[in-house]
Structures are given as structure tokens and as C-alpha cells.
Symmetry: C2
Subunit: 686 residues, 2 copies
């Protein structure tokens, strides 16, 4: 059967001759822009001092991770983003790249480093000014000042603007009074707050001269030199969590704690000695979002770490699946798990998604680096970066949980053994889906941004403006500026029986289906919200009724971004065989997205029944075609035994299987093998 969607354009015979991917080439592609730093980090992490020790209790695990943080300082692994004047490198993209790699050593190590240098340190760096940098950054960098990032409160997670903690200026003493006015305003879930933190960057409502200027960040010492908490500081340990127990999360409350006026991190807003407030940003709303925007790197790094954790999980599960055997095949020998259709269906689409995420992440990281280096730092760039973060982080973190779980189940009981990594990684990454922005809340932000773009571009309801919007809406807008993909095929073209079913699912059609779905869903939601434009109460009700679909549209947008990044990566490959296999993998990614949303495509007339029915069997064929490349595709992640550390992926299973097969072969050869009763009965019948 001619299979246009997966046939490489230049070499039609490649398919038949079973191409092989160039593993080092794909590894380069996956490691991306900061490949050198990633390799350097992985080399460092071969030292077992960085590895998680499974048997440690919470207390010992916390101390081990703290000591590992000191090791990171010694290895100069965590200062890349800091100012050159203080020994840093001002390399934002490289910093995040190296940081993400820590996830394979121990996610607790990754996140505790993130708290110290990515949140606490970044708050001082990004929200503070020169005096603050000189005073505190050296101690933050060398870990002599472990600190907490005190933003979230028990009563306010996603809605940071509404935190209850107050910072009231007292001109008499030129101090701010930091105060927790009710229990719900207690700062909560803060890494380093349970135990190790000696200072915190605290987000509080800045009040001076009777005016609340909104949330600002303050540097608050927690402990004196004697190691005892300062007066007014309340500290509670969060105790055991579902994962990340190498981190001492805790609560902080403040009972009229006084700090010097100059402890306000005053880059975006300042208070003079007499209590006069000034800010270069007039709008309190924009000022707030600018401040929060400087902290986007948390989301950037979670997107990368989650994607690489998925890769590690698939490395383990796919390796095991090519060695473990279960149930006899036609030839009387037991079949390896990876040869079962269902097993391929479980693991290979997730492998394709992981590739897509890693490619999308690198583009995301480039965007981040552009903004934070100042090279491409406009308000529009920052807004795009925020949207990108809010679209990608939810998808990759959910994917990590889904993939690690499927990997664990695909390994059966062995997957449940802690030593095989999957359950531990999953437990640790669980919180990634709700911290640094709850995934659903982030996707809602994306949805609102898409609605905003829609409203801007689509003023009349005529076909011309709709078409203009359709172009503007592609994810490419964010990645590629004006250089958008455009496709001649119109919606009406679909569903024609005269075109072969397969032709309808090529690269161009995949993009069209994915892009138009975003556009149509946003247009649909916008249309349903319109009656509420001038009636606040009706507007709120309508928004609530459409909330789930808006979030789904945002997810579709993120999926489109990932698909485009994967496709761009494939286009960069010159090696024909590698390109062929990666094209199959990209097709698998695209088609499983289309399959997931098949009902939508049918109900919106985007796919004919024939084409829709072809999607699933196409996926099955792609899985079968990718099966021989599965090991190469996980090898391209580049993980070495010191990173994997899972006995089931070490070759032990292969050795056991070989031993069992040799035993039965020897037994048969010896002539001593017992006769199966069934065979005896059949022989007697004859």
C-alpha cells in the first residue's frame, strides 16, 4: 500500500530497506542549543554523591540534598545566570539547561536548587537593585544564605495578587512591618522554610501613607547569627509530602516583623524615607505582572525537567520491554513485550510526544534566553514568553506523570519496585502539575490570551477578517514572527472521497487540522461569551460555562506549538534515513493528537468519516514501523547507566531470559525433559 504520509520524499526505497537513525545526530538535535552544558551536567551527575539514596528517611534525605547543593556550588554548576561581576556568566539559557538535567540525579535536588538560586536568588537578582545584589547575592550563590521564596499562602496560591500578608511602612523608624493578619495568609509550601532557610523573599501588600500599592517583594531575615528564629517569625514544618521529601517545605508567618526600608526589592517600585511611593510603571496591574514575569524561569525549567524525566522513564520501560518476555508466540518461544501491538500503542505515542516536547522546549528556552539576555526584550516578547510558558509547562508536566505511570505499569511489578526509579520519579514530579502555576489556571491564562488576540484581530464577522485571524492564530506566530506556514487547502476540500485517505493525513494536513482546531474553538468560545460583554454577571456565568472548553482550546494551542517544533526539528535533519524515521515519529505525534480529538474534527466537518477511520489504523502501522527503531530512539536521549540506575534496564532481565531459554534448550537436548500431560494424552488418543 502506498503510504504517502510516512514515505520519505527523496528515497522511496528507504521504507523497504528499514532505515536506521544516526543516534549521535539525533542526540545533538535533542540536547539542543545548550547541548554542551547539558553534557557537562550529565558528566558531573555520574558522581554517585548526587544520586538519590532510596532508603533514606525524610530527615536524612533533606540533609543529603543540602549537602548536594554545596557540591553544586563547588562544581560551579549553578551560578550561570548571575552577574559576571559576582562570578556568574549571565547565561540564562545555559543556566536553565544545566539545572534541568539535575532531575535525573534526584528531583529533590533539582527543586531545592531551584528554590535557592532560581526563586530566592532570582527574586533578589530580578526584583532587587545593585545594593541588594552586592549585599546578598554572594551569600545566596555560595549557599551561606539558604533562603525561602515566600509567595504562596494557604489561602492564595494561583491568585498571588490577593495575598493577605502586609508590609506597612513606618516612616518613624524607616521600617516596613511585615505581618500575617490571619491564618490563611500564612506563607505555605515553601522550600527551605521548614528547616534550612535563614532568610526569605516575602511577597506582601505594600502599604504606605494609607495606600496599598499592591504586591511587592521584601527581603526578610528569618534567623540571627545564633541560628535562632528572630522575634515574630513563625515557622512550621510541612512534614511528609507525596514526593520531593529531600526538600524541607514549610510555613512562615510574621507577627509584626520589622525590616529596614531598604529591604524592599525596589527595582519596580520604591518607598522614600518619608513614605512616598514611586514606580517607573504607572499601572499597578502592569507593574504586578512585570514583577511576576521576571520569575517565569521556574516554569521554563519545569517544562524541560518534566520532558527529560519522561525520556528517562521511556528509556527504562522500552529497554525492559525489549528484553522481558511473556506468553508463547507462534514459534513456541515467548514473545518480548515490545512486539505486542498494545504495548507499542502504550509506549510509542508517548515517546513521540516526549520528542515533541523536548524540541518545543528548546525553542521555548531560546525565547527565554532572548528576553532575559535583553536581546529580544520587548513587552510583546515578555508577553509571548509568558504565554508560551503557560501553554507548555502544563502539557509537559501532565505528560510526565502519564508517561511515568504508563512506563511503571508496562513494567508490571518490577515497575513498582523503588529501585527501578519509575515510582519515585512519578511521586516527585506529581507536584510539578500544580506548582509554579496550577496547570489548569495556566491554561486558562493562555485561553484568555487567545481570546484577546481573537478580539483584536477579528473586528467584523466577514470572511476576510476570519481568514486573517486564521493565519495570525498559528502557533508559528510565537516562534516565527511573521514567517508563518500557510496552506492552500481549504476546509471545503476535506472529506472528498476522490482524494486518497492517506493523502489527507500528511504533514500539511496535520498542521491544518491542529491549527484550525485552535482557531475554531477560540472563535466558538468567543461567540458564546459575546452576550456577556456588557453584563458583568452574565459574563461571569458564560465564562464559567465555557471554562472547560477554553482550557481545552489552550491545550490544543500548546499541542500545536509542540507539533510545529517537532516538524521544524525534522526539517533541520539532512540524513535521509534519520529524517524518515523522525518523520514517522512526528506523524505518530500528530496523528495521536488528531485521534484524541477525533470527535471534534468530525463534528466540525474537518475530517471525513473515511479519513477519520484511517487515523487509528495509521497509528497502528506507524507503531509497527517504529518498533525496530525504539531502542535507537531512546538511546538518542543520551542517558548512560549512571543516569538510568534501574536494575530492570541494566540488562539483568536479558541475562535472566537468556538463562531460562538456555535451561529449556539444554533440557530438551538432554532427553530428560518431562513430557507434558497434554502431549501424552494426545499421543494416547492416536
Amino acid at each position: 500500500m502506498v503510504d504517502a504520509a510516512v514515505r520519505p520524499t527523496k528515497s522511496p526505497t528507504v521504507e523497504a530497506t528499514s532505515p536506521a537513525i544516526d543516534v549521535p545526530l539525533v542526540n545533538d538535535l535533542l540536547l539542543g542549543t545548550w547541548a554542551d552544558i547539558r553534557r557537562q551536567a550529565r558528566e558531573m551527575l555520574k558522581d554517585s554523591a548526587f544520586w538519590r539514596q532510596d532508603g533514606l528517611g525524610m530527615d536524612e534525605h533533606r540533609e543529603r540534598v543540602l549537602s548536594q547543593l554545596h557540591l553544586l556550588v563547588e562544581n560551579k554548576a549553578v551560578h550561570r545566570a548571575f552577574p559576571k561581576s559576582l562570578g556568574g556568566e549571565e547565561d540564562n539559557g545555559g543556566n536553565i539547561s544545566g539545572f534541568e538535567e539535575l532531575v535525573v540525579a534526584d528531583p529533590s535536588l533539582q527543586i531545592k536548587s531551584g528554590v535557592q538560586w532560581g526563586l530566592f536568588g532570582s527574586a533578589v537578582l530580578q526584583l532587587g537593585t545593585a545594593e541588594h545584589h552586592e549585599k546578598w547575592l554572594p551569600g545566596i550563590m555560595d549557599l551561606s544564605i539558604p533562603g525561602a521564596f515566600a509567595m504562596t499562602e494557604i489561602g492564595h496560591g494561583s491568585d498571588v495578587a490577593a495575598v493577605g500578608t502586609t508590609a506597612t511602612y513606618d516612616p518613624e523608624t524607616e521600617e516596613f512591618v511585615i505581618h500575617t493578619p490571619f491564618r490563611g495568609a500564612t506563607k505555605e509550601y515553601l522550600g527551605n522554610a521548614g528547616l534550612h532557610g535563614v532568610a526569605a523573599t516575602v511577597f506582601a501588600q505594600l502599604i504606605t501613607n494609607g495606600v496599598n500599592h499592591g504586591v511587592h517583594c521584601f527581603y526578610v531575615p528569618l534567623r540571627g547569627d545564633d541560628g535562632v528564629d528572630l522575634p515574630g517569625i513563625g515557622r512550621e514544618d510541612d512534614g511528609l509530602k507525596g514526593g520531593l521529601n529531600g526538600i524541607d517545605n514549610g510555613r512562615l508567618s510574621f507577627d509584626h516583623v520589622r525590616i529596614p526600608r531598604t529591604n524592599l526589592l525596589n527595582k519596580y517600585g520604591d518607598v522614600a524615607a518619608d513614605g512616598t511611593y514611586t514606580s517607573a510603571i504607572d499601572s499597578p496591574g502592569r507593574r504586578f505582572f512585570t514583577m511576576l514575569g521576571t520569575l517565569v524561569q521556574g516554569r521554563v525549567s519545569l517544562d524541560g525537567a518534566a520532558s527529560w524525566a519522561s525520556a528517562l522513564g521511556l528509556h527504562i520501560a522500552i529497554t525492559y520491554a525489549t528484553q522481558r518476555r511473556q506468553f508463547d508466540g507462534v514459534d513456541g518461544h515467548e514473545v518480548v513485550l515490545m512486539d505486542y501491538g498494545k504495548h507499542q500503542r502504550r509506549l510509542l505515542p508517548r515517546l513521540a510526544t516526549t520528542y515533541a516536547q523536548i524540541f518545543a522546549h528548546d525553542e521555548f528556552l531560546q525565547k527565554f534566553d532572548g528576553v532575559f539576555s535583553g536581546r529580544t526584550d520587548t513587552p510583546a516578547d515578555r508577553e509571548d514568553l509568558e504565554t508560551l510558558a503557560a501553554a507548555l509547562k502544563p502539557l509537559s508536566t501532565w505528560h510526565a506523570l502519564d508517561t511515568l505511570q504508563e512506563a511503571r505499569e508496562a513494567c508490571g511489578g518490577a515497575g513498582f519496585m523503588f529501585e527501578n526509579r519509575l515510582v519515585g520519579l512519578r511521586a516527585d514530579l506529581d507536584i510539578y502539575v500544580t506548582f509554579e502555576g496550577d496547570n489548569n489556571v495556566l491554561l486558562q491564562l493562555v485561553g484568555k490570551r487567545l481570546l484577546g488576540d481573537y478580539a483584536k484581530q477579528f473586528t467584523g464577522k466577514d470572511a476576510a477578517s476570519l481568514a486573517k485571524f486564521a493565519v495570525g492564530m498559528t502557533a508559528g506566530k510565537l516562534f516565527h514572527g511573521a514567517g508563518l506556514r500557510q496552506f492552500g487547502q481549504s476546509v471545503a476540500d476535506f472529506g472528498q472521497v476522490s482524494r486518497s485517505v492517506e493523502n489527507g493525513l500528511r504533514e500539511e494536513q496535520q498542521h491544518e487540522l491542529l491549527a484550525e482546531r485552535v482557531q475554531q474553538m477560540i472563535a466558538d468560545v468567543a461567540g458564546r461569551l459575546r452576550p456577556g460583554a456588557k453584563d458583568k454577571e452574565l459574563g461571569a456565568r458564560l465564562f464559567n460555562e465555557n471554562q472547560a472548553e477554553l482550557i481545552e482550546a489552550a491545550r490544543a494551542h500548546g499541542e500545536l506549538l509542540q507539533w510545529e517544533a517537532f516538524t521544524d526539528a525534522v526539517h533541520r535533519v539532512d540524513d535521509a534515513q534519520t529524517k524518515a524515521v523522525l518523520t514517522w515519529l512526528r506523524d505518530l505525534f500528530g496523528l495521536q493528537l488528531i485521534e484524541k480529538h477525533l470527535a471534534w474534527h468530525l463534528m466540525n466537518g474537518r475530517l471525513s468519516m473515511q479519513r477519520a477511520q484511517a487515523v487509528s489504523s495509521y497509528i497502528d502501522r506507524l507503531c509497527a514501523r517504529l518498533r525496530p527503531h525504539a531502542l535507537d530512539l531512546v538511546a538518542a536521549f543520551g542517558y548512560e547507566p549512571e543516569h538510568v540506575r534501574a536494575p530492570i534496564a541494566s540488562g539483568a532481565e536479558q541475562a535472566r531470559q537468556d538463562e531460562a531459554r538456555a535451561y529449556y534448550a539444554d533440557l530438551a537436548a538432554s532427553g530428560d525433559a518431562p513430557i507434558p500431560e497434554k502431549a501424552l494424552r494426545e499421543a494416547k488418543k492416536r
Copy 2:
């Protein structure tokens, strides 16, 4: 809008007046046939001695659970299934009911009890004969003989028939020699094998006089009275697992371990002193499945325990969602999470599914009790029971993981705190999806059974036999014998624009859609397998290509069973208001199933585009309608504070929210509230 599907038939005004459910009545309905025993178990579990202590390390946790097992003995909580002659009650359904309830105390306690009395003890009871019962059951019952159930091997989990362990009869000494011939034949993941077990029921290939009679079960002492492992016994500790760390799982291997001939549990096959093998069951295959079939209760109890764990998770998340507030609403006050459309969409369909599962489980338990009591114990009943177990256990155990995860995410960071139960329950239940039968393998068994039924009933390809099959295929066959639901509406009837869209999604249509989907999928798979009927290699390839869809068809069968059980339960309710609300909940269950498979229904012409588009908005409306009843519906699970034990569901959040609101109200009343900068700027503009 007239909403026929959810309008109660007798009282059309009920909808408008917001009915209230009769909570005790629904509680009775949910607790089911053995409600008294469940209540008795829950009363017992109010004693904190049975509760999990989160902070315990693995070793302490194991000892605590062992001590809790002794407490269960003291409370006479675990002997209901054993013979009356030995102090039991021969009450199989009651036994499982009480056992399942242990999950809310600590899943480790549930599963370790299951190992001791449900697997190890059951093997002796079900596979042994009077002598064995008298000799070992008293010690097993009073826990003086803790034991392991040694079936699974490293190399053979689901494929039990292929285990490598051998039991070779030596007529010279009248002993069996138990032996592990290669590492892959090591018994693995066995509860009680790591530490506490002093004996094991070991499954091994019975070889006598040079013939292998297949897998049989042997009672093998592991330790002498001195507490030291006997010669030839190899024991390894599995160490830390993803959950259930209160259980000492481990490995056992046997180096030519000799046991008396009479240690063969010989109910279904025996070896005489001279080595002659005899069995009442001629066919080795049927004999094997009969032996395994006696051990079905593991699956029964996992189905129940998983359903009740889901209920507990929803109790916690829904309680929290009605107290926690986030983001301001139109009235300026913060909105409780449960009032968000997306939050309802996340929790309420899962609540509906949990209800369906609990109702289906009770019917399943009745079937089990009928077979094991001997009341309805025919080979056909046993086969139906096996199929039921294989269909329901996968769905409910996966649902538990999905629900506990969604519940945890819906509680944000608070959900990740161990004290709030959700992460611990999820980690413990993780293994439920692959033990006692891997879920995918079980569903494949169901699929094969459905294919078998199809082949039996559908000999010609004419419409009459197809219709006959359509009737035979409903899940009701298993539950209701010949008393099947039949519906006049034909497939052709669907898609008519003249019928209102709503009318197309009533109870009858839900059943028709769900039932016909099973039938059609099986027919489709059967058709695609047909060319391989006489060609073994082609047959294997075709089966593999259709494996994923066959498993999906089996899942659809299980969903139908659950839907029917829910519907039967609703029909048993007399109270009109309760019936109305439960009907909405059942509709929500049915419609979310249809939504999940919407593409299939569209591609197979079962739903018109109009009706398909109505499904999602229908679900949204049902969620909104059920929102006011959410707390009542979780209250009906009947969990008390001693069972819930999650601080976030204790009312603490409500107290915090009330305190915060009072603080702001007082501040506003005092006239001292700081003026928001934004308000000041707007005032200046005027």
C-alpha cells in the same frame, strides 16, 4: 428548556424546587448487600490503632501492620470465609465486604491481610483437603503461621501456566522436590516473603514419572521452629516500593527443597505414594483454570477496595472544594472552587463513576457469594464470575488512580501534603492495576471471552443471527440471566432531526449506545481476525494488530456492566427526590462514557452530529445541576472523621476562610483599610 433525560418522570416540578437526596437511604444503597458487616468494620476502624502512621519508616511500618493483623484476629474480623468447624462463618460475601473496608485504615493493612487470609489461607482452604485444613488453617487463622502466596515469578507474572519452578516427585522418599531451576523462576513480589512468612503455598510444575502435569500448589515450610530459614530456602527482601511499604514483599527461591508428598494441596489433582497421578478433571487446561478460579476473590476485593478508596478521595476533594476559595467573583467575594465549571467537570463525572462502580461491585460480590457458597456454582457461573472479575477490576483500579490524582490536583499543594491522604492512597493503590492480574491482560481475557460468545452465537452472517447476538451480548446476561433489557429503537432511528436532540440521550438510548458499541466492536474484531482462523502465523499477526481494539471492547463491556448496575440501583429507589438526583448522576455517568467514545459513535453512525454535539453541553448542565448535591452525595459514602483523617477536609479550611473574610469585613468597617492604588488613580482622574 425541556430536559427529558434528566427530568424525573413522576414529578416534573422537582427540578425547579431543587430536590434533596435522602442521605441515609443512599448510604444503605451504596453499602449494599453486606451493609451490616461494612458498618461493623468501619466502627472497628475508628480505633487509631488501625490507622496508618505516615512518619514511619519501612521497617516500623511493617511491624505496625503485622501487629494490626493480630488486632484483626482479636476482633474476629478476618475469619468469616473459613469453615464453621474451625471457627469461621462460611460467609464469603461478608468476608470480602469487611476486608475491603480496611483500605481506609491503611491499604498495607488491607493487602497484607489479603495475602495472609485471602491468598495464602485461601490456597490451603480452596486447593487443599480436610487433612490440610485441620493441620494448617487454625495457625493461619490465628496468625501463628504467617505465610506467603508464591505464584508469580520474576519471569512469569500473567502467564502462570509457564512458571519455571518444579515439584518433582521422588517415590523413594515419598517427597516432592521443590526447585528453582533458573533465576527467572524465582518467586517474586510475595507479601510476607521478605520477613514474616514461615510457610508458603508454592505454585510449581508437578512432575511425576517423567510427566509434567502442569501447575499445582504445594505447602512449603520456610522456617523451622528456631526461626531460621530451612535448608535450600532462598529469601530476599524487595525493599522499598512505590507504596504498600507496610508489607514485606520479597523473593523466594528453592534449592531442591524436600517436602512430604502430602503437602501437595490435592483437591484437584493428587499423587499416590508410587507416583501415580490422578485428577477428577481430565483436561489439564481445565484443571489449571479451575485451580486458579478458586483464587478469584483477590480480584473481587480489589474492585471493591479501589471503588471505596475513590469514594474517600472524592469525599476529601469535594469537601475541600466547597470550602476553599480562589479569585474574586462578580460580587467581589472569592468564589469556592466547586462553583467553577471546570472544577465540577473534574470531580463530578468521577463521582458518578464511583457510584456506578460501587453498585456494580455489589452485584459482582453477590455473584461471587453465590458461586463460593455453592448456591449457584456451575462451571458457567464460575466462568461468568471470572469474566466479571476480569472486566471490573481493571476499570475500578484504574479509576481509583485517576480519581485520587485528580482529587490531589484539585486540592493543589494541600493535596500533595501526605497528611491529606490523597498521595498516600494513590501510591498504595498504584500496584492494584497490575497485581492479581495485569489490567490489560485481564481485559484481553474478557475480549477473548466476548469473541468466543460471538463465535458461538453468530454462525451465519444473516441479520437474524446478528440480532440474536445483539441481545445475548448485553451485560445483563451476566447479571440477570435471561431477563434482558430490550429496546425497540433501531439504529436507523438515530440521527433523525425530527426527534429532539435531548430525547436521544435518555436512559434507553444510553443503554443502546453502550451495548451496541460492545457488540459492534467485537463483531468488527472478529471479522478482521477471520482470515487467520486456519493460518496460525497470520492469526497471531492479526490478533496482535487488533489487540488494542479488543482490549478497548472489553473495557466497553465493563462500562456497560457498571452502567446497568447503576441503573438497576436507581430503579430500586422509591423516594422521588432521591431518585431524581441519582438519575442525573447516572445520566452523567452514561453521558461521559458516550462523550469519551464520541468519535466511535459518530464513525459508526450511532449518533447524529446534532446529538453528538449535545452530549458535552448536556454533561455541563448535569454538572451544574448536581453541584448543590455534591456534599450530600459524598456524605452518602458514610465516612466519618476517623476514616477521613485529612486536615483539609476537617473544616479547618472553612475556619481559615471565615477568619479571612471576617478580617477584611472588620477592616472595611473600621475605616482604616488602605486605599488600593488603583482606586486612588481612578479617583484622581475624575
